[in-house]
């Protein structure tokens, strides 16, 4: 609008401004209501996620202390026992178990970790590499940090439903961030106090509002990063991300993951029985024939391959499953650029596939780096501290918002922000939320469910209806 225009229509201007302001107020009220209800519903889950995540971040340090006697030996000797002999010791100690994998760590004082399947349960057996002595065993599900991991990914109760709830809470946290930033956005006062710095000397709701909004603003980008880097694990969004990566060919190449699909070994042992004439005639096979023939390679051969192929410790060798199975040598628990997954023919030692970080598509690289950041292992202690600040900050935000709400809440009502009278604006915001719901399907579903509940159930129960509004 130019000055000339202003002069021409001096009388319509104020009313336009008034309408504008009214619209803005309606938007503000509506967004605040969304922020309020979403926060009220999801803050318990977000506290659980922040708490469990904050603990799990320090898994290496915590487990090193908790399991020091199992993880570490006192001194390193010049020679270590060959992997095969270590395996033999484990097999002797657990005759009913099956060793499924072996992990070697880069710390020379660290014991080797043998994954053992026994009676349907996975456990870790720690072996002193100097003499093959077993320093301890831990059932996988009893691992201290495993409990926090389960809390973080499936709220302890486990299963798909719990996992979806976690994802739902994470997605709603994004909406809380966006709506929160909108509410925080300085409108009336152009002051740094109450915007980027809290008004320390004020009391009551203003103080707690600042204790909520100001740190939330500072943390918002970090919280968003931690949510975004956690989503690739999730069932719905993670699946979407994977599909997007696959369709743009920016994802993981085939055989990139040790837990995924594997190539097959060319079975060599078969020919023993196949080629000899008596096998065809159903006569008993002489025992010497059973023993003569190709045999699968051993752990020694695999550690040799790992070394020559420049696989950085910590790496895990997974034993072949079945006669066409492969050995898998993989490392993915340190810095992402050292990631490698090799599948090796169990009879010839031929490397069937070798996928490194550089072979990943750009999106897979992003996801991999993001996951490392999320788990606090991308740039050492600073990364862990950053994660911890986000976790503690998030809990703090929720506490300050709770106090702020308590101060406003009347006895007999939930104390939601007043509903805007502008139906149009309410509808526009609803549509914006649905658009969020398209990108985050669980959010969309939850909005529709709540909408229907509100219309069909809550509205019918007058006391509840009154309390909610």
């Amino acid at each position: 609008m130019t000055n000339a225009n202003l002069e021409k229509q001096p009388q319509t201007q104020p009313s336009k401004e008034k309408i504008n302001k009214k619209t803005k107020t309606a938007f503000y009220q509506t967004v605040w209501r969304w922020h309020f209800y979403a926060g009220l519903i999801f803050s318990p889950f977000l506290i659980i996620l922040a708490f469990s995540g904050g603990v799990y971040l320090f898994k290496p340090q915590i487990e090193s202390v908790l399991y020091a006697d199992k993880y570490y030996v006192q001194e390193q000797e010049s020679t270590t026992l060959a992997p095969n002999l270590q395996l033999e010791k484990v097999n002797e100690a657990f005759p009913d178990g099956t060793v499924t994998s072996i992990t070697y760590f880069d710390d020379p004082l660290r014991t080797a970790e043998f994954g053992l399947m026994e009676n349907g349960q996975m456990s870790s057996i720690y072996v002193n590499q100097n003499n093959g002595e077993i320093t301890g065993t831990i059932l996988n599900e009893k691992k201290f940090t495993e409990i926090f991991k389960k809390l973080h990914s499936e709220l302890i109760i486990g299963g798909t439903f719990a996992n979806r709830i976690v994802e739902l809470a994470a997605c709603w946290a994004v909406i809380l961030l966006v709506t929160g930033l909108y509410i925080w956005w300085p409108r009336n006062r152009a002051s740094i106090w109450g915007t980027v710095l809290p008004r320390w000397r004020s009391k009551g709701r203003i103080f707690w509002r600042d204790m909520h909004a100001v740190p939330a603003f500072w943390l918002s980008a970090f919280i968003l990063i931690f949510i975004a880097t956690g989503l690739p694990w999730s069932g719905v969004m993670g699946e979407q991300i994977n599909r997007m990566a696959a369709s743009t060919n920016t994802g993981y190449p085939n055989y990139a993951q040790s837990w995924g699909e594997k190539p097959e070994s060319i079975v060599k042992t078969k020919e023993v029985a196949d080629e000899v004439p008596w096998a065809a005639e159903n006569l008993p096979v002489p025992t010497s024939t059973m023993i003569n023939g190709y045999v699968p390679l051993t752990l020694n051969d695999m550690t040799f391959i790992a070394e020559t192929e420049n696989i950085k410790k910590p790496y895990t060798i997974t034993m072949p499953q079945g006669e066409a199975g492969v050995f898998t040598i993989a490392t993915s628990h340190a810095r992402p650029w050292n990631d490698a997954t090799l599948h090796v023919d169990q009879y010839t030692g031929s490397i069937l596939s070798d996928v490194r970080f550089n072979d990943y598509g750009i999106m897979a690289q992003g996801i991999t780096v993001g996951i490392a950041l999320h788990e606090g292992r991308l740039f050492g202690l600073a990364n862990q501290v950053m994660g911890l600040i986000v976790c503690i900050g998030l809990i703090g935000l929720i506490i300050s918002s709770f106090i702020m709400w308590k101060k406003r809440k009347p006895e007999d009502k939930i104390g939601a922000p007043p509903k805007s009278k502008d139906k149009k604006i309410t509808r526009i915001v609803f549509v914006i939320m649905l658009i969020f719901g398209v990108f985050m399907p669980l959010v969309g579903i939850s909005i529709i469910i709540v909408f229907l509940l509100d219309r069909l159930v809550f509205a019918k129960i007058e006391p509840l209806n009154k309390w909610l509004r």
């Binding site: 060959a82 002999l85 010497s288 023939g293 040799f304 999106m363």
Partner: protein, 158 residues
Amino acid sequence: MKKLQKTIILLFVLFLISGCATNLKEKDQDQLDRIDAEIMVPEKIQLNEQVSLAAEVKQGDEVVEEVDEFQFEIQRVGGEGDNELINVSQADNGIYQIKKVFSEAGVYTVQTHVTAMGQHVMPKKRFVVGNLTEEEINEFLEKSQTEEDTSGGNHQHH
């Protein structure tokens, strides 16, 4: 610093993705491309009798002419550390061969370490020397169910 930059860029890519590219599917090394060594051991080996152990390096059905390194590793199962490494530099009609006299009965393994065409393979074959009784062999077979061979990982061939 570079890694940090890379990280930041990659994180952004996580958010903003578009475009499409050619098929990136990593094909696993085709079975035909893989090299292998076919190990030939006499069906019966008597004590103190000279026998030949041989191997042929192949890629699919083709004999591989250019082999960078070829080595036999012979070991008596249960006899730790006494594994014998024998380099063979010359092939005779594509066949790498050594003569050997075994003076101790038992179960042995012969492993070939082959480097050719940028690949490294190390297949291993097991065989019996001397007249082992049925029980002795069965005993061994039972034992080998739970444990693989116990060689000291003597991969000095590099």
